[in-house]
């Protein structure tokens, strides 16, 4: 469960997020749509407690993030726009390292399974990450998120720069995870992917959540029109 109650944040007096109220239940994929500077990344950073809110509260799995950062973070998997791995380590070594940091100890077979589940080709498992494309890094990042076995996932422009095939595979994986009971909050510009993947869509502008939509109740063209109307 991902929840925000009147969450607000400003930088140098300029509001970046205003009175955000949001709830993403287990099994839901919530897509936050908005232009650059709309407040999407600020929202994600507040949930991760990389930023301190001015007002309001963020909760992950019912735990207030500000009160117990470690416990809240332990329940979150996070995939940024650009996953950066340690270039001197292979994909499987990166996965083993990040998993070990979160207290997970997996066998090599289990690690390989996470990488395969994330869609990384087996021949890439033991290549150093400096040989990886962005798509391969994103897939390794997904494997890291999967291995964490978190109940909530935060994604910040996860399909940005991915080719359509990789983007599609990624969307399928997200759907699978939500079906397994994960609560997913995804900040994105990708209207098409949001419409296809999300169970709910929120449109943001200037730090405000302007409108919430059910993707099943709106077509691609209407979504685009509505989005452009809100942005104008």
């Amino acid at each position: 469960m991902i929840q925000a109650f009147n969450l607000s944040k400003s930088f140098n007096g300029q509001p970046a997020l205003q009175q955000l109220n949001l709830s993403v239940a287990p099994g839901e994929i919530y897509a936050l749509l908005g232009a650059n500077g709309a407040g999407k990344t600020t929202t994600i950073n507040l949930f991760l407690h990389f930023l301190e809110p001015d007002k309001g509260e963020a909760r992950i799995n019912g735990k207030p993030v500000a009160e117990d950062q470690q416990a809240a973070r332990a329940g979150i998997a996070y995939i940024p726009e650009n996953i950066q791995l340690y270039p001197h380590l292979s994909g499987i070594e990166n996965l083993a390292y990040f998993s070990a940091l979160s207290g997970q100890k997996y066998t090599t077979a289990a690690l390989e399974q996470f990488l395969a589940q994330a869609g990384l080709e087996p021949e890439a498992f033991r290549k150093h990450a400096h040989h990886y494309s962005k798509g391969m890094r994103q897939k390794t990042g997904i494997a890291i998120a999967l291995a964490k076995e978190a109940k909530a996932m935060l994604l910040d422009e996860p399909t940005s720069g991915l080719d359509p095939k990789a983007s599609n595979e990624f969307a399928r994986l997200l759907t699978q995870l939500s079906e397994q009971g994960m609560a997913v909050l995804m900040a994105t510009h990708d209207l098409f992917r949001a419409k296809e993947t999300a169970t709910r869509i929120g449109i943001m502008r200037s730090g405000q959540l302007l409108q919430e939509l059910q993707p099943s109740e709106i077509g691609h063209t209407d979504l685009e029109s509505l989005y452009l109307q809100q942005m104008s």
């Binding site: 990389f50 332990a74 979150i76 996070y78 940091l101």
Partner: protein
């Protein structure tokens, strides 16, 4: 957690070509400087052994000789070269460690130009100490400047923190990894020394010598990682660290030396010589019978021997006069050397205070002290030679006075066996506790800095995961 981070950082650093290159260059510098130091040491030791043997042989082959002429002929006192001199020559190249021993004149090295300066002239030489004190910390800076800042820039810091790593753990793990790399260089030094001189090494001193550097590197690693964690950008961290390195290694030591010289100036060589000569003139002149104090001494000796004239004395009065003159000269030397020593100590105290701002100074002084190449060691050697010289001159003057000649017999000769029976000079280097005794301020400075660095890492607050805001 710290161990995981440590392992990953170590693995990453060792696999990183840039790090391999930097560490390779540093090792190369170290090996080259050790090779150069060892060459210089061997050359000096050989030359020293030959010269010492020659001086001893010359003295022993004087044959029958007038004792006073022998005092003017003189001999030489050689300070043995410590093995650690190879790693840190300290002030020795400038102060010298061979002193002429002769009558009337206290050892000449006191007048050596460099011996009256505690400045950092030694940077002109390429020696392992320069690599150990300045280059290895620079390597640590290059290893660590991006340790946290670059993770922040690339975004991996977010993932690390989200996976449960705290800043404290990250800083500790990374600093320890860089420290271990620097210890590898120290280990290389230990191996070189063990292979070359394992049997002759004073291992307790060497262990302390290495421990001082190990603590210094831990300090450099912790501070570098901390600066990287505080800086928004790795380029900013590098600028701050390089600035700090310049300040520590070059600017503050020079300023401290200049401040010490300004506050407690040592006389120039010429002035010092003039002052000594002036005071010396007030003493007895062994060659001038018209001196009034000589007359007073004459009366005293005549009364002692219950005779009326010098000619009636059963001894050579000239020897007694010369010894009295020596003793006066000794007082002059004690006064001037005492003043000199006190000023050097005052200058050194300024540098010790300055080391509170620049731990480089603390480790440099500690290193020289343990290598036996500090100014204190040089002064100790001078004092030891002077003590020997006084006994040596007294023996010659006594032989002149009581060896069988009469007053005025300047051509009288003592037997060869007398000169051969005189003990050669041997220098007993003061022990480890003496070396450390003068250096407590530096040890405390190093430990306090280390505690501060550990405190900064352990209790740092308000460190941002994000590279903006």
């Amino acid at each position: 957690m710290v161990r995981l981070i440590f392992n990953n950082e170590l693995k990453g650093s060792l696999r990183d070509r840039r790090v391999q290159l930097l560490a390779g260059f540093t090792t190369l510098f170290l090996l080259l400087s050790a090779w150069s130091g060892q060459g210089a040491y061997t050359h000096l030791a050989d030359a020293r052994a030959q010269a010492a043997a020659k001086a001893e042989a010359e003295w022993d082959s004087l044959g029958a000789y007038n004792p006073h002429s022998a005092a003017h002929f003189g001999t030489y006192a050689y300070r043995p070269l410590g093995l650690l001199r190879m790693l840190d020559a300290g002030v020795q190249p400038f102060t010298g460690d061979v002193l002429k021993v002769e009558g009337h004149v206290a050892n000449e090295a006191l007048y050596a130009e460099a011996s009256r300066s505690s400045s950092l002239m030694r940077f002109s030489a390429f020696q392992p100490a320069l690599v150990l004190q300045a280059i290895v910390p620079l390597l640590l800076i290059f290893l660590a400047f991006g340790s946290i800042a670059r993770e922040r820039e690339t975004g991996t810091l977010k993932m690390l923190v989200l996976q449960g790593a705290s800043f404290r753990q990250l800083m500790a793990g990374k600093a320890l990894a860089y420290w271990i790399i620097s210890l590898g260089l120290l280990l290389a030094t230990v191996l070189i020394m063990a292979i070359l001189y394992g049997g002759q090494m004073a291992w307790d001193t060497f262990a302390l010598f290495m421990l001082g550097y190990a603590l210094y590197y831990l300090l450099a690693a912790l501070l570098s990682v901390y600066v990287s964690a505080k800086a928004r950008r790795s380029s900013g961290a590098l600028a701050v660290l390089l600035g700090g390195w310049l300040l520590w290694v070059f600017i503050l030591p020079k300023l401290a030396a200049q401040l010490g010289q300004s506050l407690y100036p040592l006389p120039s060589r010429i002035v010092f010589e003039e002052q000594m000569q002036e005071d010396r003139k007030k003493g007895l002149d062994g060659h001038n019978p018209s001196d009034e104090r000589r007359k007073a001494l004459e009366e005293k000796v005549l009364a002692e021997y219950e005779v009326d004239s010098i000619e009636q004395l059963p001894i050579n009065f000239d020897g007694i006069v010369m010894q009295a003159d020596e003793e006066y000269g000794n007082q002059v030397w004690d006064k001037h050397f005492g003043d000199y020593y006190q000023t050097v100590q005052q200058q050194n105290r300024v540098i010790q205070w300055a080391s509170a701002l620049a731990p480089f100074l603390a480790v440099r002084n500690l290193s020289m002290a343990l290598a036996g190449t500090s100014l204190y060691d040089h002064l100790h050697f001078q004092q030891s030679v002077e003590d020997y010289r006084r006994g040596w001159v007294k023996a010659l003057n006594d032989e002149h006075a009581y060896g069988g000649s009469k007053t005025g017999e300047w051509g009288w000769k003592a037997e060869a066996a007398f000169f051969q029976s005189m003990e050669d000079y041997t220098y007993e280097r003061p022990g480890l506790s003496w070396s450390i005794a003068n250096r407590w301020p530096e040890i405390i400075v190093l430990l306090v800095w280390l505690l501060v660095a550990v405190g900064l890492v352990a209790f740092s607050r308000n460190l941002s995961v994000l590279d903006q805001n």
